[in-house]
Amino acid sequence: METVKEKKKGTDSKKTIKISGAEAIIHCLLAEGVETMYGYPGGAIMPVYDELYKFQDKLTHILARHEQGATHAAQGYARVSGRVGVAIATSGPGATNLVTGLADAQIDSTPMVCITGQVTRQLLGTDAFQETDIIGISTPVTKWNYQITEASEIPEVMAKAFYIAKSGRPGPVLIDITKNAQIDAFDFSYEKCTAVRSYKPVPKPKISAIQSAADLINSAKKPFIVWGQGVILGKAEQELKALVEKSGIPAAWTIMGASALDTSHPLNVGMVGMHGNYGPNVLTNECDLLIAIGMRFDDRVTGNLDFYAKQAKVIHFEIDPAEINKNVHADVAVLGNSKETLGLLLPLVNENKHDAWHNIFKEKYKIEFDTIIKNDIHPTKEGLTMGEVIEEINLASNNKAVIVSDVGQHQMIACRYAKFSQSKSNITSGGLGTMGFALPAAIGAKMGAMDREVVAIIGDGGYQMTIQELGVIFQHKVPVKIVVLNNEHLGMVRQWQELFFEKRYASTVMVNPDFVKIAEGYSIEAKRISERKDLKSTIQEMMASKEPYFLEVKVEQEDNVFPMIPSGASVSDVRLK
């Protein structure tokens, strides 16, 4: 407050290093290398928007059409680029609309900083207009949050926010800034944060644990690797590949780990989990050593824990100590960054081959191919399948596209059949399962990797949850490819109703609008197809386009996704039909 008085008096005109809190926020963002951010203005954040206006040549602000869209765009940007995504909103409803994105980023370990305006300090707790306790609300869904009530706190807190968001196991941070702190002036200087006293982001690897892990790996007869997003977040793709190749161990991935190793790698045996591949699931219960790398044994991966890999020794490579023994007991826990721990492990692992064991995976794949995959991607029935659409996208993009999927049947199909040849190519809401994620996330992904093709695969349900973000694509001509796989149902829920609720399709039949007309309303080139003869050419046309493109594919209405581990069942009880 003193500084404001001084400025008003104009007694010391030389001290112009004094800047407002709002301007300081911009300088903090620039110092952290932020180039693009997503948000929505409102009363309590207006001083910051006023500065954004002045700095628009240095900092791009993308106006989302809903704050949730801003968070998912920031997530998509972060996931594809490895940088911190930034979203900004006003107090009250602006802030509460961020909650889904925060929760999504928290459970999927996505580095994100959200900035919210807040009512002025004197009004805190008075139920002022657009006041909400966003610190209280966001606490369970943030890695860290903090309310700034004085301008002078801004540099240190912002530096800490970025450091915490991206270090160790990444996650979302929310900084709530009262309006007075945005307006007041103070002496600004910025120093990046490199340490926080009570926070140890990366545990130091224990050489003894790595040696124990190597001993188990070297003596195992039927070892099996399951990796997760920790490989991507730790930038350990090369180390994973080297480990797999040197040890000859078949390796499978969780949905969040997809694309860390080429889909076409001979030892990449596919996806684990509820709709994962047959071999990786059933052979989890036949391996003698399970090597988990940067994954957290989510229930969608393990099925019933009482029947999960009980016969196997377990090695768990993990950065977050709280994940060790949380769901699955680890015989050897190797804490640390995956790049570092796998790098240390590599020289201790013997060159080996596990051909007979690997062949069992191939046999299981053949069973799965004959009963499921063949019909999914090369169907002989009349109606289009989701799988053949994904396969055409693989062909048209030469397996190089970033695939951003929403949540539901199409997501499982996309993750099962999309082929990846480079890391950070599968952007999806894995942990939270947030319908409406894909359209805004694809916008962020495209902006985070302008040189890559970004294809959003979305169901007709989820599409309508954040369809307003077409406005961003329209305004900024974001050249994303939007593929809506329209089965006129909330397909995954309908599948469960068919299998477990005697086909009582409660509220899962969708009465949809004309999606092509809607896209055209936003001046986006749009097509609808419903016949196989049009599929290849239309997808080729879409992939060749340099503009935003919307494609609705009318697919079979009551197709199911298999294999499937029914909820609460063992991975051994995976159903093929």
């Binding site: 209280g136 606490t139 369970p140 309310q147 340490a195 006293r197 140890k200 100590p321 709280a322 023994n325």
Partner: protein
């Protein structure tokens, strides 16, 4: 695994909102906090939470892991009752007349090793520290005479083992 009593000790920075963050971890698992005490610790600028919960060892292990990963938490531990020295404090407010008219009240105070904190015209206050069962016993003894007010603190405890917080702080 069977439920049992655990004392969770959390060493942390003294920041607004951390209590909310820690209590949220119990809320998420639908576990009741049976008692809570927050105070300074043996180290300058480091706070100590003492939390009592009745749950399984597996869950308390997970809870402590999730508490410890909060940014402002330095270290968290859990201990069984056997591994700690612990007690609670209690205040009883009782009508002054009883102190003079009921000899038995004075015996209760003496037998329970309690202290009279203050005596005024209308009421007097008894303080007692001890295990929960000792406090409950004294409560039962006083109840027939009429307790005007009663309050019991959260458990405070120290562990038999060393907690090497200073060494941990140096590692950060």
């Amino acid at each position: 695994m069977e439920n049992q009593w655990f004392t969770i000790s959390v060493y942390s920075e003294n920041n607004v909102g951390l209590l909310n963050r820690i209590s949220g971890i119990f809320l998420k698992r639908h576990i009741n906090i049976e008692s809570l005490n927050v105070s300074k610790s043996e180290i300058d600028d480091v706070s100590k939470f003492t939390i009592v919960a009745y749950t399984t060892e597996k869950w308390v292990h997970n809870i402590v892991g999730q508490i410890e990963k909060q940014i402002e938490v330095i270290k968290a531990y859990y201990h069984t009752d056997d591994e700690t020295i612990y007690q609670e404090s209690v205040l009883f407010k009782i009508a002054s007349g009883l102190l003079f008219d009921e000899r038995q009240i004075q015996n209760i105070i003496k037998d329970n090793n309690a202290q009279i904190v203050t005596v005024s015209r209308d009421f007097f206050v008894i303080a007692k520290s001890g295990r929960r069962n000792e406090i409950d016993e004294m409560h039962d003894q006083l109840k027939p005479y009429g307790i005007m007010q009663f309050v019991r603190s959260g458990r405070i405890s120290v562990t038999k083992d060393e907690m090497k917080i200073s060494a941990i702080l140096k590692e950060f």
